[in-house]
Amino acid sequence: VEAKRESRPARGAPQNPLLAMSIMSYNGAAIIAMVGKNCVAIASDLRFGINQQQTTAVDMKKIHKIHDHLYVGLSGLATDQMTLAQKFKFRHNLYKLREGRNMKPETFAHVVSNVLYEKRFGPYYAEPVVAGLDPVTGEPFITGMDLIGAMAPTTNFVVCGNNEESLFGVCESMYKENLEPEELFEVIAQCLLAGVNRDCLSGWGGVVHVISKDKLITRTLKGRMD
């Protein structure tokens, strides 16, 4: 009886002490977006874990297509990332019906920021990365955001996920400007794999999309399956 009492947590204490750490690390994710020559690439890992310790799926989609030249990747709490992806699809569908054209990446990024900020004091626990090409000019655009919508557009790369520091480091060393689509694929794939290898919450393979004006390259990466 004594032993049983010890193993049960006291009433009022959180059932799972790990939750107290960070809701953003509950599921696990790693996402990178990079700008190349007239193309953008976006890559993510495929792990879906629960409670930080358990891996439940290894084919979890974190990058969602909005239209042919616009993709959004979401890290953080999986339920929020799924719901947000559906919300963004909703918004874009209506935009397309009313305006008769696809959204520009910058416009979409502002929509994402807006949706997130609406929940300023009870936020979605997801951090997005937007990557796309202007539907008319084909100019590349990427941006990252925090969970309440603060945008950080850059001209080189953005990362988000559990192991951001590693991802930043590896991208910083390997990134070069004006890479062609195939080269960009190599760089972003290697960066992703290197970045997730030392992180237990992300990994189990990866998926990369390289978006050019007339072509889309989508490939699945095989990495360390742990």
């Binding site: 909703f90 209506l94 019906l97």
Partner: protein, 276 residues
């Protein structure tokens, strides 16, 4: 007695003295007439009978919607928006007959309904559900609020997983029905009569387009059908063999011209044969 009745209600009667009993029951949409009619709803349908015709034909391979454009002017900027045809979702389109501004409100509402369904169920909204929701909205304007009904009739063409390709018609009263082929707007009864005789089961999508063009030609005022006066849209398989995806598509001028020329030629041949 009747005048005091009106004064007590505080209504301002119509300026011209009217003899028919009906006039007293006109002003309020939410009031039945003694004969059990809703005059405002009927007047709305009257408005629609002056609008450009729209024809719909349903086949097992797709649904065709064709319409007569009423606003024709060289000065009009065509752009991407259409006068009669509107997309509600990837698998659904409507043809409008009636007051276009009223239609725009309902179309926007329908688009929102479709997206909300998609958001909740992560699958495209079944056609009848969408038609029903829209018609419930139309019905509300015949029963509550004292607002006038929407002066629009719709032809919905689309596809869903459960019932395949479907064609629905709705009117200002909020009634709707599923059809194999139907028409709304000007000369709708004449168009319906032609459809009744000419419609066949098992038509291909092309035959349906040809039928719709023919019916339009016969109900429009002009003798020769021109592509600029007509709008046509279809909901059909993107790839007829794989049958993976349906798509709503507005027909391009080239295809329209071909259909119109064909209809014109057929009519001329018939007239020539008739003369002999």
């Amino acid at each position: 007695r009747s005048s005091t009745h009106i004064r007590a209600q505080g209504r301002v009667d119509a300026p011209q003295a009217s003899s028919t009993m009906a006039r007293r029951y006109d002003s309020h949409t939410t009031t039945f007439s003694p004969e059990g009619r809703l005059y405002q709803v009927e007047y709305a349908m009257e408005a629609i009978s002056h609008a450009g015709a729209a024809v719909g034909v349903r086949t097992d391979h797709g649904v065709v919607l064709a319409a007569e454009k009423k606003i024709l002017s060289k000065l009009l900027e065509t752009g991407t928006s259409s006068e009669k045809m509107h997309k509600l979702d990837d698998h659904l389109g409507v043809a409008v007959a009636g007051i276009n501004s009223d239609a725009n409100i309902l179309i926007n509402s329908a688009r929102l309904t479709a997206q909300r369904y998609l958001m909740t169920y992560q699958e495209p909204v079944p056609m009848e559900q969408l038609v029903q929701t829209l018609c419930d909205q139309k019905q509300g304007y015949t029963q509550y609020g004292g607002l006038r009904p929407f002066g629009v009739s719709f032809l919905f063409g689309g596809w869903d997983k459960n019932c395949g390709f479907q064609l629905y018609q709705s009117d200002p009263s909020g009634n709707y029905a599923g059809w194999m082929a139907t028409a709304i707007g000007a000369n709708a009864t004449a168009a319906q009569a032609i459809l009744k005789t000419e419609y066949k089961e098992g038509m291909t999508l092309l035959e349906a387009k040809q039928l719709a063009t023919k019916v339009l030609k016969q109900t429009m005022d002009s003798t020769k059908l021109e592509a600029e006066k007509v709008e046509m849209s279809e909901v059909g398989w993107v790839n007829a063999e794989t049958k993976e995806n349906v798509e709503y598509r507005v027909l391009q001028t080239k295809e329209l011209t071909a259909l119109c020329d064909e209809a014109n030629a057929e009519a001329e041949a018939k007239a020539a044969a008739g003369k002999k």
